[in-house]
C-alpha cells in the first residue's frame, strides 16, 4: 500500500490539455523526483494534489483511500504540504507567527498562546536539526531560512506528504546541503517527499525514484540508482542532448572595446571596473548575493552609483535605464516575473514595449499590423511556444517567458536605427529546463555574432565556463579576480568566489 498515489490524472485549461492520464506513487519515507521540462505539467500535477486545481479525470489516493480536496486547507489538514517556489510568508511577522498564521493556539479567553507556539516551533526546529532565529521578522532571514520556515509551516500540520517545488533554485551550495540534511531527517521519520528540480546531481544525491513527465504526459518512473543523467534527460526532452553549449569562436585579437565602466556604489570606497570588447561574453561568477546583479543594476542606472562610462570610446552619462537603452545597453533581469515582464499583458505588449518607435506611422501612431507581424517573426525566430502574439505572458511556462524577454531584446538588436551594443543576461536559465537552456545558450552566442557584447551573470558554473570568453569573479560585493582562457575552470572560480585563493 502506497502512502500516496495519483492515478490517471487529466486536466485541461480552456480546452488545452495540461495533463493527460498521469500517474505516480509515493511511499512513506521516500523521496520521489518529479522531472520534466517547463510546461511538462509538474506544477499543475502538484496543484491538483494540493487541491488548488481539481482534476478533470483520475483520482488521488492517500493511504489507499480516495480523497477529493476542494482547496489547499483541506489538503494540508489531511497531511499534504507544499513549499512553493514563491514563498507565502508575511515578511514582517516572525518565523513563529508565520508558522502558526491563521491557526494560532488560543486560551480560554480566545487570546493567542504565545508560549505554546514557541514550544511547538522549537520542537520543529529540533526535529529538523537546524538553527533558526524564531523571533526575527522573516524578511530579515536568508532565503534558505525562509524556506525552512515554509517547511516548518507545512510540518506543523503533521504533513506526511511534502512537496518541494524547486527548493534549491534560490539556495547557495552550502544551503542546499542544509536543506538536504532536513530532507534526510524527514525521510527517517517516514515523510514521503516529492522533489522538483532541474539539477541532475541533486536528484542523484537525494532521491530514491524519479518520475518523468513530458508535454503533460507520463513518460516513466525509474529507480535513481539504476539510472543515469543521459537517460533521464532523454526521457525529459525526447531526444539526445549532446552538445549543450554552442561552439565558441575565438575572439578577434583586435576586437575594439565597446564598454568601459567604473562603478562606485554610494558610500563605497571601491570602484569596480568592467571592460567589454566587441562580440565578447564576459561572465560574472560568484556566490548568490556576491553583488553581481547589483553591479549590473548600477551600471544601467537602476540603482544609484557614481559612474565613469565610455561606450565605443565616447564618454557617456547614465542616470536611468532609459539612458542606458539609448546608448544600446540593456538588461534581462534576474527575476522575470517582477522585473522583466508585465505578466497580465500579451506577448506583443511585452516584446515591443521599448521599441514602439519602430512601428511609427502618421507621426505618433503605432502601426499595429506591422507590429503584430514583427512580433510573430521574433517569436518564431526564438521559438516561443505560445498560441500567438496575443497570448498572455503570465500563462506561459518559465522557459517561454524568458524567450519572450529575449524576443524583446532581439527586436532591439535587429532595429537598424537604434541597435544594441551590450546585453546583460542575469541568470538567463534559472528555473528553465534543459531543452530550453540549450536554445538560450545558442541565442546568446548568436547575439555575439551580430556584434553584441554580453555580460552573463550566472550561478551555474558550467554555464559561465561553457559560454564566457572572460570571467570576472565576485566576492562580497566586488570583483576580486578576472580570468581568461585556460584560467577559466571551476576550481579557480570557486577559489576566488569563496576567498580560498588568498
Amino acid at each position: 500500500m502506497s502512502l500516496l498515489s495519483l492515478e490517471g490524472i487529466s486536466k485541461s485549461f480552456n480546452g488545452v490539455a495540461a495533463l493527460s492520464e498521469v500517474s505516480l506513487t509515493l511511499e512513506a519515507g521516500e523521496v520521489l523526483a518529479l522531472l520534466g521540462e517547463n510546461g511538462a505539467g509538474k506544477s499543475t500535477l502538484m496543484k491538483i494534489l494540493c487541491g488548488i486545481h481539481r482534476p478533470d479525470a483520475g483520482e488521488v489516493r492517500l493511504d489507499d483511500a480516495r480523497v477529493e480536496f476542494r482547496n489547499y486547507r483541506e489538503a494540508s489538514a489531511a497531511g499534504v504540504g507544499i513549499v512553493f517556489q514563491e514563498f507565502s510568508l508575511v515578511p514582517w511577522l516572525t518565523a513563529i507567527e508565520n508558522i502558526f498564521l491563521g491557526r494560532e493556539p488560543r486560551n480560554a479567553f480566545g487570546l493567542i498562546q504565545r508560549s505554546r507556539m514557541r514550544v511547538d516551533a522549537e520542537r520543529l526546529v529540533g526535529r529538523l536539526g537546524i538553527e533558526l532565529d524564531l523571533d526575527t521578522p522573516v524578511a530579515a532571514l536568508s532565503v534558505a531560512d525562509q524556506q525552512f520556515v515554509e517547511i516548518m509551516k507545512a510540518l506543523s500540520l503533521d504533513a506526511r506528504v511534502l512537496v518541494l517545488d524547486e527548493p534549491t533554485a534560490p539556495l547557495t551550495p552550502s544551503e542546499v546541503e542544509r536543506l538536504f540534511a532536513i530532507v534526510r531527517a524527514l525521510k527517517r521519520e517516514g515523510v514521503g517527499m516529492i522533489f522538483i528540480s532541474h539539477h541532475m546531481e541533486e536528484i542523484f544525491e537525494i532521491c530514491d525514484r524519479v518520475t518523468v513527465l513530458r508535454d503533460g504526459g507520463y513518460i516513466g518512473t525509474r529507480e535513481v540508482a539504476a539510472s543515469d543523467a543521459a537517460t533521464l534527460v532523454e526521457m525529459m526532452v525526447g531526444r539526445r542532448v549532446d552538445t549543450v553549449f554552442p561552439p565558441r569562436p575565438p575572439l578577434a585579437a583586435n576586437a575594439p572595446l565597446v564598454l568601459e565602466a567604473g562603478i562606485t556604489a554610494p558610500g563605497s570606497a571601491q570602484t569596480d571596473r568592467v571592460r567589454l570588447r566587441h562580440g565578447e561574453i564576459l561572465g560574472f561568477a560568484g556566490l548568490v548575493g556576491s553583488g553581481r546583479s547589483e553591479l549590473a543594476l548600477r551600471l544601467i542606472g537602476a540603482l544609484p552609483a557614481s559612474r565613469q562610462m565610455r561606450v565605443d570610446g565616447r564618454e557617456a552619462k547614465i542616470r536611468a535605464p532609459a539612458d542606458a537603452l539609448a546608448l544600446g545597453i540593456g538588461l534581462l533581469p534576474e527575476s522575470r516575473k517582477q522585473q522583466g515582464l508585465i505578466l497580465p499583458f500579451s506577448c506583443l505588449d511585452n516584446i515591443t514595449l521599448n521599441q514602439l518607435g519602430r512601428f511609427r506611422h502618421a507621426g505618433v501612431l503605432i502601426d499595429r499590423g506591422s507590429e503584430h507581424a514583427e512580433v510573430e517573426r521574433l517569436m518564431d525566430q526564438v521559438r516561443v511556444k505560445a498560441p500567438g502574439a496575443d497570448s498572455v505572458v503570465g500563462e506561459l511556462s518559465g522557459g517561454n517567458q524568458q524567450k519572450v524577454v529575449i524576443s524583446r531584446w532581439l527586436g532591439r538588436v535587429e532595429d537598424v536605427e537604434r541597435g544594441m551594443r551590450v546585453l546583460i543576461f542575469d541568470e538567463p536559465t534559472r528555473g528553465i529546463d534543459i531543452g530550453a537552456k540549450t536554445e538560450i545558450y545558442a541565442l546568446i552566442r548568436a547575439l555575439t555574432e551580430r556584434g553584441v557584447s554580453i555580460l552573463l551573470i550566472s550561478s551555474e558554473l558550467p554555464e559561465i565556463i561553457g559560454l564566457s570568453d572572460r570571467v570576472a569573479v565576485f566576492r562580497k560585493g566586488h570583483i576580486v579576480a578576472e580570468l581568461e582562457g585556460e584560467e577559466i575552470d571551476a576550481p579557480t572560480i570557486m577559489a576566488h568566489a569563496t576567498g580560498g585563493a588568498q
Partner: protein, 324 residues
C-alpha cells in the same frame, strides 16, 4: 516544432469571442443596459429625447473629469484633487473675464492653471516619489482653499454672454458639453490605444519596475498623466462655469469620487494596468442615468447616495469574480 503562425490562425475566431468576454467594457455595458432598461420600464419620461439629452449633458462634466482620472488610474495612481481643481479653474476663468480679459485668454488661463496644478501633482509623485493619494489629498485641500480665498466665498457672475457657448449652446443639434466630452474621449482613445505614450501608461500600471528597467522613462509619463488629469478637470470647470454662467468656488465637492467611481464602474483595475477609456465613458453615463432616474423616481437625495454606493460595490464584486 509548433510555430506561432500555424497555431494562431485557427484560434482567431474563438479568440475574438473570448476577447469580447474578457474585454473590460463588456460587463460595464451589460450593467449600463440593465440599469437603462430598468429606468425606462419604471419611468415613462426617461426615454424622452429631452430627458436623455439632459442625462448626457449632466454626465458630461463627470465624464470629462473621468478621462484624466482614467489615465492616472491606469498607471496605478489616483487623483483626489480634480473636484477642487475644477472649481478653482472655473472661478479663475470667471474672474479673468470679469476683469476684462477676452474669453479666449480667460479660458486659456484657467486651462493652463489646471495643467500646472496637475503637473505639480505629477512632479511630487514622479520625482519626489510621494504617494499619489497623499499628494493629491493635499492639493485637493489647497485648491479648495484657494478657490474660496480668490472668490471670498461668493460666486463670480456677470460673465460675457458669449461664454455661455460651452455649457448651453447646441452645435449640429447636439449640446456643446456633449460634443466636448466626445472629443476628449476620442483624443484619449487615440492616445491610449494607438500611441507609445498610451502603451507606457498601461505598462506602468501593469509593472512599474519592469517598465523602468526595460528603458522607459516612467517619471516622464507619470508627470504626463497627472498633467492630463489637471487639464481635463479644468476643461470640466470651463463647461460647468459656462453652464452656470458663474464661477462657483464650492462646485467641485465630491466630483473626484464620482470620477473615480466612473472609472471603476468602467471596468478598470484600481491597481492599474487594466481598463479602457470607452469603459470609463460607459461608467460615467451609468452614473448619470442613475442620478437622473433616481431623481425622476422622486427618491430622496440621501437615499440616492446609498443606492449609488451599493451599485458601485456590486460592480466591483462582479469584477472580482471575473478577475479570479
Amino acid at each position: 516544432m509548433t510555430t506561432t503562425h500555424t497555431a494562431s490562425t485557427p484560434r482567431r475566431g474563438r479568440s475574438r469571442l473570448t476577447r469580447l468576454l474578457r474585454s473590460p467594457v463588456f460587463y460595464p455595458l451589460i450593467g449600463f443596459v440593465i440599469v437603462f432598461a430598468l429606468m425606462a420600464l419604471i419611468n415613462d419620461n426617461f426615454l424622452s429625447t429631452a430627458n436623455l439629452t439632459n442625462v448626457a449633458r449632466q454626465g458630461a462634466i463627470i465624464g470629462i473629469i473621468a478621462v484624466g482620472m482614467s489615465f492616472v488610474i491606469f498607471t496605478g495612481g489616483i487623483d483626489l484633487s480634480v473636484g477642487p481643481v475644477m472649481a478653482l479653474t472655473g472661478t479663475v476663468m470667471a474672474g479673468l473675464m470679469v476683469i476684462g480679459l477676452p474669453i479666449g485668454l480667460a479660458i486659456a488661463g484657467g486651462l493652463g492653471l489646471g495643467l500646472a496644478i496637475g503637473a505639480f501633482n505629477g512632479a511630487c509623485v514622479a520625482f519626489a516619489r510621494m504617494p499619489p493619494i497623499i499628494v493629491t489629498l493635499a492639493t485637493m485641500g489647497i485648491c479648495k482653499g484657494l478657490a474660496l480665498i480668490y472668490t471670498g466665498g461668493y460666486p463670480i457672475s456677470g460673465l460675457p454672454a458669449g461664454f455661455s457657448f460651452f455649457g448651453r449652446a447646441t452645435l449640429l443639434g447636439i449640446q456643446v458639453p456633449i460634443l466636448i466630452m466626445l472629443a476628449v474621449y476620442a483624443i484619449a482613445w487615440v492616445v491610449l490605444h494607438h500611441t507609445p505614450a498610451g502603451r507606457y501608461v498601461y505598462a506602468i500600471g501593469g509593472n512599474e519596475e519592469a517598465t523602468r528597467l526595460t528603458g522607459i522613462r516612467v517619471s516622464r509619463y507619470k508627470l504626463m498623466v497627472y498633467s492630463i488629469s489637471g487639464l481635463t478637470a479644468a476643461l470640466a470647470g470651463l463647461v460647468l462655469a459656462s453652464r452656470l454662467m458663474s464661477g462657483q468656488p464650492n462646485a467641485g465637492t465630491g466630483f473626484e469620487l464620482d470620477a473615480i467611481a466612473a472609472v471603476v464602474l468602467g471596468g478598470a483595475a484600481i491597481s492599474g494596468g487594466r481598463g479602457v477609456i470607452l469603459g470609463t465613458l460607459v461608467g460615467a453615463m451609468l452614473l448619470a442615468i442613475l442620478n437622473n432616474g433616481l431623481n425622476l423616481l422622486g427618491v430622496s437625495p440621501y437615499l440616492q447616495d446609498v443606492v449609488k454606493g451599493a451599485i458601485i460595490l456590486l460592480a466591483i464584486l462582479i469584477q472580482r469574480g471575473r478577475a479570479s
